[in-house]
Every structure is written in structure tokens, then in C-alpha cells.
Symmetry: D2
Subunit: 146 residues, 4 copies
């Protein structure tokens, strides 16, 4: 279970390929099957009442799980989310960043399954949980004439 | 099954309370238990390869279902998504708006369940399906001293 | 969009390969992309209070969607459910059969996505909605030496 | 975070109220926010190819999470599953029991959210993950005239 991309490599990948995301989401730590990413909360993520909106939490979980998979298979830009299930459990406070802690549960040849718990920075109770499936495009043989 | 907010009222509500969203999502049509909303796709929603990203599709479905519920219960700003499940089935093309067609399946006193199919404008095959649960805050009694 | 297995063929397949299921679930009608299956409710499906239990509703939706896919691709016994999301919305009455109405939303080479609404027989309001993803095993080439 | 029902109390509750389940599912261990339950796999749970069927895994997760919640709130027979999301990740072997390890993520007044990982007995890789929401009926005030 080697790590093919570390936090620095993943953040460089995000900056190059997902500039809108790299603006607010960054990878903090990577270990085999685990990854932590941070959402720097700003005015764009807020909803009435000063809470972080569901779509911003979804985006954090999506990027975090994507990076967790890339950390293991390398920069396969075409891996795509096929399914996501998310429970919003508590209202995040406006003034705090959010951290997504991901775990890979399955890394198959064509499908990967992972889950994330989203916590407020320095908070104990998760605001959301999310599980996602990614489809991984088939590898071309190294010396393929195609 | 009365409609308490029509498309015009819902778009005014979005403009006032969700200015970031109102910029790109608008309600097109409202009927009892049904609603159609449009995402005007622009550069902010795109991913590498020119496709619309998952978080943008999630945000469209979330706003559309929220508006479908408000159309029936009125402007209850504190209704919150508690669960969402989404399947991304086909890659949307970059140059086309997306339409979410919502249907309310249950509208209880404390929980509402609805689903949305997301289609490319003038397209036949859905790019995503989504089901969501919303928690509806309890109504205060009409003459409550609070 | 041809139908490769009709209701009779699907029920024969269930009787041969899923005898425990064929006992209580049967396919009622098949059309392209649509299928209706019935759960004959008996004492085994009931929970305290005389309602039909969640696992029995899940099993009905699973068999119905499986058959909807087989109706289109033929008797591929190795198609497997990879993901399911289900909302239980109303309490079913004990004395009534349940009907699952399925619709195929995507039928790709390796993944199929379908949804089902579960209604009480002759009832108007759905008791549950379910969406599922099935992985379809790759076809062997017709003249493959394997 | 007190435990109101231990493994023995939960198994007695299952035997009394869910006799069909108590036959094959039993609670093995209970700790605050955690619970382990076992499915004694027999012929009824098997599918063609000798694997344990999806509905049997769903039933195990449902009972396990239900018991995890009861361990904290006491024998509230009317708590009901409102939403479930399940990923089937690996094929379970026929000859092995399955263990569900549950964790409560939120225990609110009206909604509880929990997740379960399902492992083969003595196995390292999970065959399924599941998250569920339960609706908890409102408590009557102790001295309520109703």
C-alpha cells in the first residue's frame, strides 16, 4: 500500500487542474488509506444564519475522497464520482474551517469506495458523513500500440 | 395541495437569501409536487475536460428540491437538508445548461422527501438522479406569546 | 431497446436461481425500461405493530431492479448490487401486498442504475423509494478460447 | 453517555419482539456509541454461487444499528429507519458468519444517524458499509395527563 502522491503533490495537482477548488480546499495529511483535507471557510460558503452550506460540504468531501484515491493510484484525472451519499448531522459554525477525514474502504481495479467524516476545526462532533464511489478508468497496457 | 410560492416568488426568495445561488440557478416552472430549475452553466462550474462538476450538479439539485418544498410550505428559511443520495450517470457537456426536474414524494410535518432528475437542456438522458430528505422546523402556534 | 426476458421468463429464472425469493416476489409486468414486481406479504415479513419490515421492502426492490436489468441484458446471474439508497416514507399496512415499480435510468456496459417506488397494492402514496447500482460482468467475446 | 440496555437485554428484546431476526442475529458486545452484532449465516441467506445475499446483509446492519440506538435510549419499539445507504464492496464467503460493527454518529431528540461496517468473521476487509437514519418518536412528558 504505497503512497504515490503526498500532500504536496496532491495540492500541486489541485492547483493545476482544479484552480477554483485549490483556492479553498487543501490536503493536510496523507497516510495509506487515510487523508485529511481542509476547507478554508469564507463568505462564498455561507448560508443564511451564518452556517456553511451543504454544497460546500459536499465539495470538500468530494475533493478529499478524490485526493485519497489519487494518493494511491497516481494522477488519473479521469476518475469520476458515480455515487455519493451524505448525511448532514449538525450545523457548522460560520467562523471555523472544516476538516474532512477520509478512509478508503475498497480500491478495486474499476471501482473505489471511500468515506469521509467532516469535523469543525478543533471540534469533536462531526457535522457530516459522506460515502462515495469512484469509477477508475481502465489502464492502458504500458506498451500498447494504441 | 396548494402552491404557496410560484416561480416568481421563489426566484425573489433566492435573490434575497441565496444571492450566490440566484446568480446561476433559477426556478422555471412550479406545479403541485413538481418543480423545474435551471443551472446556467458557466466557467465556474466546469471541471477538466469541460464537463460540469459534481458539486455544481449537487448544488442545483439541492436548490431545486428546497424550492419545491418551499412552494408548498411557504418561505421557511430554516428547512435543512439532512440526507442526500446522488448518482452521477453521464458526463454533462460543457456548453449546455442543466435542468433539474423535482418531485415531492412525501411532505410530512417534520420530514420531506423529494427526488430530482437532472437533464441537459433539450437532452433526453439524465446526467444524474438525486434524492434528498429535508427536516422542517416545527411551526410555532399562531398565537404563541413567543 | 428490446426486452430479452418477459415476466414469464423472469419468474422462471427466479424460481430456479432464487427459490426463497420466488416464494414471495413475482414479476407482474415488463416494458422497456420499466418493470412491476409484487411482494405477497405474509407473517414472515411483519414487524411489531403489524407493519412490513424494512429488510422485506429492501429485498422486494432489489429483486425488482435485478429483474428489470435482466429483462434487458438476459440471464446474467452474476450481476451484483454495488450500492443502494432507500428512503422509508410511510408505514405499510400489514394486510396488503406491496408493488415495486422500477425504472432503468442508465444501462451501461459495466454499470446500470435504476430506481423503484414501492406502493401498497391499490394505494396512491409510496411507502418507499430506492435507487440501486448494479455492476454487470464483462461479456466474454463470442468465440473466446476461454 | 450511559448504556441503558446491554447485550443480554438487547438479545432478550430481539427474541421477544423480532423472533424471526433473533433466530439469526445476535448482539455480541455493546459500548457507548459502539455495538457489534453477528449474523449466523445459514442456507436461507445464500444466493447462487454460495454468497450471502444483499438483503441478508441489509437486515444485519438494520438490526445492529437499531440495537445500538436502543442501547442508548432504552426499548423504544417505535423507532423506525427512515433512510439507508449501503455499499456492497466484496463478495462474502458462504461458510463464514458476518459481523456488523456500528458506530452512532448523532443521537438527537428526533433523529439518530449511525453507520456500520460489515466484516466476515476473522476477516480483515469489509464486505459492506451502511449508514442509516432512524426517527425517534417524541417522548411523552412523565406526568403528562395524556
Amino acid at each position: 500500500m504505497d503512497i504515490l502522491m503526498d500532500a504536496q503533490a496532491l495540492n500541486a495537482f489541485l492547483a493545476a487542474d482544479f484552480p477554483q477548488m485549490a483556492d479553498s480546499v487543501s490536503v493536510q495529511a496523507v497516510a495509506p488509506d487515510r487523508l485529511v483535507a481542509r476547507l478554508r471557510v469564507d463568505a462564498r460558503h455561507l448560508r443564511p444564519g451564518g452556517t456553511v452550506g451543504g454544497p460546500a460540504i459536499f465539495a470538500l468531501a468530494d475533493v478529499a475522497i478524490y485526493c485519497a484515491i489519487l494518493s494511491r493510484i497516481g494522477p488519473v484525472a479521469l476518475a469520476v464520482t458515480t455515487n455519493a451519499s451524505i448525511d448532514f448531522m449538525r450545523k457548522p459554525e460560520a467562523g471555523r474551517d472544516l476538516l474532512a477525514e477520509c478512509r478508503i474502504l475498497k480500491l478495486g481495479r474499476s471501482l473505489a469506495v471511500a468515506e469521509a467524516l467532516v469535523f469543525p476545526d478543533e471540534g469533536a462532533d462531526p457535522v457530516a458523513r459522506c460515502s462515495m464511489t469512484y469509477a477508475i478508468p481502465p489502464k492502458k497496457p504500458e506498451n500498447s500500440p494504441l
